[in-house]
Symmetry: C2
Subunit: 468 residues, 2 copies
């Protein structure tokens, strides 16, 4: 021991940096290794983790669940009307993004969008009346996710709205999403003025029937190859869908022209889609939902199958834990704000679009989309680093979605809640940022992180479920 202390010391400090700082300040040299205890030292989650790591039942369940995720074959199979095609959708139901939430707790953009949906449905004649109807319990609210659906930002789907229908041909399940309205004053950011309602009516009366006619002519459209191609064209199919939207147009146009739909409608529809680089987003989301729903419900699995935000709470669901949500307050996104806006103006994280990251694209595929850093912040190196970091918390690489900049490695796919809690590496989510007041619209974008607490709660529940 005296020999050890007599010789020059090389110190490696693991964890709290202040120990290393002291040695460095005294003229010694200490290398610092970043480390924090699992679950940020939270005892219950740590114990659950200890029980679940390498648990043979969990391992087997995860292998089964993630294989279903990887095997999914999402196909765009049509457009329907929400009340006709969504499972168990009530006559006065409005679906919203994220985990369950009552009217009284909803954020501004979500309330604004609900008022817009009530006006669109004709259930009230003024915004004031619509608000009163919602407040007095005249509407049944439910998460899109409870109806095999997803919606970006406020994620509002009311019974008369058209919805995309995506079929997972490998598993036979269906998933749904609303249609993208474009940017600016739009329902999903809480706007509900006459031009918003008029656009929704046009989407219902012209866009949807025209697209339906085109899709009928085209037949089912394989979405995985299209998304894979878009990843080779600079999209991550969450906040960047420029290539995917253009590829969709390429496929749709000849079918639209032969569909028998009126030429003026076809021209208007194509112009509408061509003007909106985010048009494919909702299809991408429905595709991801169809992939993940197939992986849901495997007893014992710690695979995360939903990450979603309602602008107040951030919630996750886990394959082995049925219909339960594990929620915590949604963070306000530290992103790039448009000129004139700041974090003080922002609603907390909002929307079902994190379904893309849950499926292993979006922020997990940022290495495919270096140009997105102009939108969400950071450098091209950060984009690569985000993708690489996600390999530590996922179960597989998805060979169907390859990343040219990483020499065609697959995207990290299938979040394991155990690994999130164990490493403290939080799932990255590329997201738009809504103004907290209804109807102002998008005020920024950023790469944010899912909060640890959801995953920690889920692990505790999973450990308990294995006891029983």
């Amino acid at each position: 021991m005296s020999k050890l202390l007599g010789a020059p010391l090389s110190v490696v400090n693991v964890g709290l940096r202040s120990f290393a700082d002291t040695i460095n300040q005294c003229g010694g040299t200490a290398a610092q290794v970043e480390w924090a205890p699992p679950a940020s030292g939270e005892r219950a989650a740590g114990s659950a983790l200890a029980k679940l790591v390498n648990h043979p039942l969990v391992e087997a369940a995860n292998a089964k669940a993630v294989e279903r995720l990887l095997a999914a074959q999402p196909r765009l199979s049509g457009i329907g009307v929400a009340r006709e095609v969504l499972p168990r959708m009530g006559r006065r139901t409005i679906l919203h993004a994220g985990p369950p939430i009552e009217w009284g707790r909803m954020c501004g953009p979500m309330r604004g969008a609900i008022v817009g949906a009530i006006l669109f449905e004709g259930w009230a004649r003024s915004a004031r009346a619509a608000q009163a109807m919602a407040a007095r319990g005249g509407i049944e609210f439910a998460p899109c996710h409870h109806h095999s659906a997803v919606g970006p930002m406020a994620g509002i789907i009311s019974p008369s709205m058209p919805v995309w229908i995506v079929k997972n041909a490998a598993h036979g399940n269906l998933a749904y999403s609303n249609l993208n309205e474009g940017l600016g004053k739009v329902l999903r950011f809480g706007a509900n003025g006459p031009e918003v309602i008029a656009r929704l009516k046009w989407m219902q009366k012209t866009l949807a029937p025209t697209l339906r006619a085109g899709l009928e002519r085209l037949g089912e459209l394989e979405l995985k190859p299209l998304m894979a191609q878009a990843l080779h064209m600079g999209d991550e199919v969450h906040n960047r869908n420029a290539a995917a939207s253009a590829l969709l147009i390429k496929r749709l146009v000849p079918a639209l022209l032969k569909s028998g739909a009126p030429a003026a409608d076809v021209a208007a529809v194509i112009e509408f889609i061509a003007a909106n680089d985010h048009f494919f987003l909702n299809i991408s989301m429905a595709a991801c939902k169809s992939m993940l729903d197939a992986a849901h419900g495997v007893a014992g699995s710690s695979l995360v199958t939903v990450m979603a935000r309602n602008g107040v709470d951030f919630g996750v669901r886990v394959s082995g834990l049925g219909r339960r949500w594990f929620s915590t307050p949604a963070p306000v996104v530290d992103g790039l704000y448009f000129a004139g806006y700041s974090k003080a103006d922002a609603a907390p994280d909002l929307g079902d679009s994190a379904i893309t990251e849950t499926a292993g694209v979006g922020g997990f595929a940022m290495a495919a989309a270096p140009a997105i850093v102009k939108f969400v912040g950071g450098s091209a190196q950060d984009a690569l680093a985000n993708t690489l970091a996600m390999t530590h918390i996922t179960l597989r690489r998805n060979s169907a979605f390859t990343l040219p900049a990483l020499d065609f490695a697959g995207t990290p796919c299938g979040i394991d809640a155990r690994r999130v809690v164990d490493t403290g590496i939080l799932p990255v989510i590329n997201t738009g940022i809504a103004h907290k007041a209804p109807g102002v619209g998008q005020i920024g974008a950023g790469a944010t992180r899912a909060p640890l607490a959801c995953f920690a709660q889920a692990l505790v529940a999973l450990a308990r479920s294995l006891k029983a």
Copy 2:
């Protein structure tokens, strides 16, 4: 001196590696610096280089020339018929790719394509008769480049063919290219069977008039922003034009639908374009030609304004050297060959498409297009390295064409023949590879290099021109 030799030596060896090898073999340590004399030690070029480096006239001329290149504003302004719009196009003229060449020296694919063009024009009734006509001097041959035009691979343009018209709004000059036929049995690879001629007739009778009607409705289309956007979507706008072609469709379709062109024709045209990810290539080439022609003709400038290959010779032109070509045998491309083919089957490097690299895209912008390495070979790192290497032989970065993976640095732009000769770094060209027999088609692709000798010859001529 004895003190120096007594102490341990650190050796840096510059140039021939064998000196360092000897020291290393004897137990010493020598670091190797790669270096070769300018112009590979060729005396005349070396002397010319010595005279031209930092020559104030050359510097001023290059500054002027490259500013014209950077200031160019190429716009797609229409479609015309070659004999009506190309400057000085004779009645029995056929234009071809690369520097001037007579029938007797032409490669197989070029001969095959010329036979096809003669059949298309109706100047002969059989391939045999067409060949005889060409051989006996019945056709006037000239490079596309002599008529402000460019064509990929064989680059054949005959008088009745439709051509894209690109206007450089900044300089007022026009440039032209033929229309892309797609892949497989096509004229530009030397095929001339009935299906090839029938497709050319359809392009003349249906494709071109329909597109013309659409363009008239659309108005002039700014090409630089479209190409810049494509660079953010994984294209390098030479061998990868998937995004640019899709973006073109997005812009064209609404205009086509409102143009009054028959709906069946519009549908056929869109389907034709949508099936061909290379459709934009010829427009990209004409845009680059319009940019470079504006930079041509500045006395004293060593800016390279043309690199082109005819399948036998590789030729360059330099801004300060008028209509002269500096040519050397074209290399056979060491690329990725399709199954069943090898270098032994390949025609030497062919086509005017290196105009894209001359303008600072294509191989110079490979950092934008990591997915292209699956087509031309190498890794994503090689793609970045190619772009970075080209900064050593170019005069500027083009801030209009930014590269997300390099944190939005501009593409290296404006090849300085002096720097090529000085550094020995040869311009990289992403290219398709044609079978040496006419009509077999594409048998591979690769990233090849322009031969040094062209640039060395040009320097000697430029040095002489300054004497006079």
